[in-house]
C-alpha cells in the first residue's frame, strides 16, 4: 500500500528560508535509507505558496476562481511530500517516525495519508466471490 508523507508548511518554508545544512543532510540520509529498503517511490519539496495558484469553484456549476498566492495559514499548506510503498499502516508510521523533524523549531509536522489502490476499487462482488472460492480451496488442501 502506498502512503504519502506530507510535510506541512511552516513560517520558514513559506518565507522561502532554506533549511539548515544539517537538516538537508539528515533528510538526504533518510531518503537514502528509504531507497535502500526499496520503499521510496518519490519525494519532492514544494516552493513557497507565494508562487502558487489556487483554483476554486465557489459556485456549483460556476466558473473557476483563480487566486494567486501567497495563502494564509502555513499549517494548512504543504511544503513537500514523500511517497512510500509499504506493507502496512504501521510500517508507514514507523518510516514516518524516522523522518527528521522537518522544521526543528517547533513547527515540524508530518501527515500520513494512504493512497487508493486498485484493490480498493476492485472489490466487486464477482472478484470477492472468486476469492472466497480460492480460500475454500486452500482450506481443503490444508486438510488433505
Amino acid at each position: 500500500m502506498r502512503f504519502m508523507l506530507i510535510v506541512k508548511a511552516t513560517t520558514d518554508s513559506e518565507a522561502g528560508v532554506k533549511p539548515s545544512q544539517e537538516l538537508i543532510d539528515a533528510m538526504q540520509k533518510y531518503n537514502e535509507e528509504l531507497v535502500k529498503a526499496g520503499v521510496l517511490l518519490a519525494a519532492d519539496g514544494l516552493m513557497p505558496s507565494s508562487g502558487g495558484i489556487r483554483i476554486s469553484y465557489p459556485e456549483p456549476g460556476g466558473k473557476p476562481k483563480v487566486t494567486d498566492g501567497p495563502f494564509a495559514e502555513a499549517k494548512e499548506m504543504i511544503a513537500g511530500f514523500t511517497l512510500i510503498d509499504v506493507k502496512s499502516r504501521e510500517e508507514a508510521i514507523q518510516w514516518a517516525m524516522r523522518m527528521p523533524d522537518p522544521h526543528g523549531f517547533g513547527q515540524g509536522e508530518i501527515e500520513l495519508r494512504q493512497i487508493y489502490e486498485v484493490e480498493d476499487l476492485m472489490n466487486t462482488p464477482e472478484s470477492l466471490e472468486k476469492e472466497a472460492a480460492l480460500r475454500k480451496q486452500v482450506e481443503e488442501q490444508k486438510q488433505a
Binding site: V35, K36, G38, S88, E90, Q94, V118, L134, K142
Partner: protein, 421 residues
C-alpha cells in the same frame, strides 16, 4: 500503547529489520536457520519489553544488539562442543545503538547481499529458493507464502525447514561469489526474484491480496538489490522490467476480472510513476555501458510499449530489433514467436507468418497454444479465414485457461462467419 498496537508495530519493525538482522547474525553464526531463530528470539524479547519501556529510538539497532548478545551467549555455552565458535565470539564486537549508523551503510548491505546469494543458492530447488527468500529476505510468514502460492502452510513450512537443512549440510558459505561464478549465481538470484514476480503477476485468478503481495515483494527486493549491487546492469534491467510491468496492473484486467491484452489496455490507467521509475532503472542499466542482457532487453521492449501514447503509435521496428537482440542473448522458440509478432506489426503479416511457419516444426512448442493462436491472428490479417479458424480451434483445445479458451472459440466463429460473408 495497547498490546495489540504494539504487536502490529513490532510486526512492521520486523518487516523492516528482519532481513538485515538475519543477515548480520548469519555472518556471526554461519547458519541461516540458527540466525533466524536468534533473530526471532530478539523479537520475542522485544515483544515482552517494549509494551512497558516503549519502542526504542532505533529499534533496528536494539534488535541487532539483542540478537547478537544471544548469539554470543549461545557460542559461549557451546564452547566445549565447538572451539571454533569461541573464536568467532571473541572477535565479535557488539553493535551499540550509537555506532549502528556507521555500520548500516556498508557492512549491512554486504551482509544482505551474502544472504540473498545464500537463499538463492543452486543447491536448492527453485521452489525452495523462492520460499526461503520470501521468508528470510522479505520477512513473510509461512502463512503469507502459502496463500501466495495457493499451497498448504505445512508444505511451505517443510520446504523452508528442508532448505535450511540443505544449506547447512552442503556447507553453503555466507559470501558473495567471486570471479566467473558471480555471473551465474547472480543469474540464479534474478531468476528467483523474477519467478516471484511472475507468480504474482501472471495469475489473473488468485487471492486478491496475496497475489499482488508477491509482485510487491519481488519489486521491493529488486529495488534493494539494485542499491546493494549497483554495478550489475541486469539487476537494474530486472527492476526496470518489473516496474514497467507493474505499471499496467490496473489496466490488465477488466471489471469482470478478465485479462485485457496489452494493445487493448486503457493506457490512461497505466501508472506513470512506475513507468518513470522503470525508464530510470533501464537508463541505469544502459549507463553501465555493457551489452544489454536478457532482462534489460525485455525491459527495453516493455519501455517501447510504455512510451507509445496509443497502441497504433507503437514503435514495432524497434521492438522487432530488440527481439532480434534478445533471441541472440537467450535463443528460445518463444522469443522467436514474439519476434514474429513484432515483425508482422512492423513489416506486415506475411513476414511474421514465415517465421511462425518455421516454428511449427519446433518440438518444444508442440502443445503451446500461443503458436496456433498467433498463426491464426496472422492468417486473419491476410484474409485466410478458413485456415485461421482451424488454428484458433486448435489453440482453444490446447489452452488450460478457461477465459482464453472462450476468447479463442469466439475468434474461430468470427472467422467462420467472415468466410461465409
Amino acid at each position: 500503547m495497547t498490546s495489540s498496537t504494539t504487536q502490529r508495530t513490532v510486526d512492521a519493525i520486523w518487516r523492516m529489520e528482519s532481513a538485515k538482522l538475519i543477515a548480520g547474525v548469519t555472518r556471526m553464526v554461519r547458519d541461516v536457520g540458527l540466525a533466524e531463530d536468534l533473530a526471532q528470539d530478539a523479537l520475542v524479547i522485544a515483544l515482552e519489553r517494549w509494551p512497558e519501556t516503549g519502542i526504542p529510538d532505533n529499534p533496528g539497532a536494539w534488535l541487532m544488539t539483542t540478537a547478537k548478545r544471544r548469539a554470543i551467549d549461545l557460542m559461549r555455552r557451546s564452547k566445549v562442543r565447538d572451539q571454533k565458535y569461541v573464536e568467532v565470539a571473541r572477535n565479535q564486537e557488539l553493535y551499540t545503538e550509537d555506532d549502528i549508523d556507521a555500520v548500516l551503510d556498508g557492512e549491512i548491505g554486504d551482509d544482505l547481499l551474502r544472504l540473498i546469494f545464500m537463499t538463492c543458492h543452486p543447491v536448492l530447488s527453485q521452489e525452495a529458493r523462492v520460499a526461503l527468500t520470501l521468508r528470510l529476505l522479505c520477512g513473510l510468514t509461512t502463512d503469507e507464502i502459502a496463500r501466495s502460492f495457493l499451497v498448504a502452510e505445512s508444505t511451505i513450512a517443510q520446504r523452508i525447514v528442508r532448505a535450511k537443512k540443505t544449506l547447512s549440510a552442503e556447507k553453503v558459505p555466507f559470501e558473495v561469489p567471486a570471479g566467473a561464478e558471480l555471473q551465474d549465481r547472480l543469474t540464479a538470484v534474478l531468476e528467483v526474484i523474477y519467478l516471484m514476480f511472475n507468480e504474482g503477476y501472471s495469475a489473473t485468478s488468485g487471492d486478491q491480496w496475496f497475489r499482488p503481495l508477491l509482485c510487491q515483494e519481488a519489486l521491493r527486493l529488486g529495488r534493494v538489490l539494485a542499491e546493494i549491487s549497483p554495478q550489475e546492469p541486469e539487476v537494474h534491467g530486472l527492476v526496470a522490467l518489473m516496474e514497467i510491468q507493474s505499471s499496467r496492473f490496473q489496466a490488465r484486467v477488466n471489471a469482470k476480472g478478465e485479462p485485457v491484452l496489452l494493445l487493448d489496455q486503457n493506457r490512461a490507467r497505466w501508472d506513470q510513476l512506475l513507468i518513470r521509475r522503470g525508464l530510470a532503472a533501464l537508463e541505469r542499466s544502459r549507463k553501465l555501458g555493457r551489452p544489454l542482457g536478457a532482462y534489460s532487453l525485455q525491459a527495453a521492449i516493455s519501455a517501447c510499449h510504455a512510451q507509445a501514447p496509443t497502441a497504433a503509435e507503437t514503435n514495432w521496428i524497434k521492438i522487432a530489433a530488440l527481439y532480434e537482440a534478445l533471441s541472440r542473448v537467450t535463443p528460445s522458440p518463444i522469443v522467436e514467436l514474439n519476434k514474429a509478432v513484432a515483425i508482422s506489426m512492423a513489416f506486415g503479416p506475411a513476414f511474421g507468418l514465415q517465421i511462425v511457419d518455421e516454428l511449427n516444426a519446433e518440438p518444444s512448442l508442440k502443445g503451446y497454444h500461443l503458436l496456433p493462436s498467433v498463426r491464426g491472428d496472422l492468417l486473419v490479417k491476410l484474409g485466410r479465414y478458413e485456415e485461421a479458424r482451424i488454428e484458433f480451434e486448435r489453440a482453444a483445445s490446447m489452452t488450460r485457461n478457461e477465459q482464453e479458451r472462450i476468447l479463442l472459440l469466439k475468434r474461430a466463429s468470427e472467422c467462420a462467419s467472415e468466410r461465409s460473408n
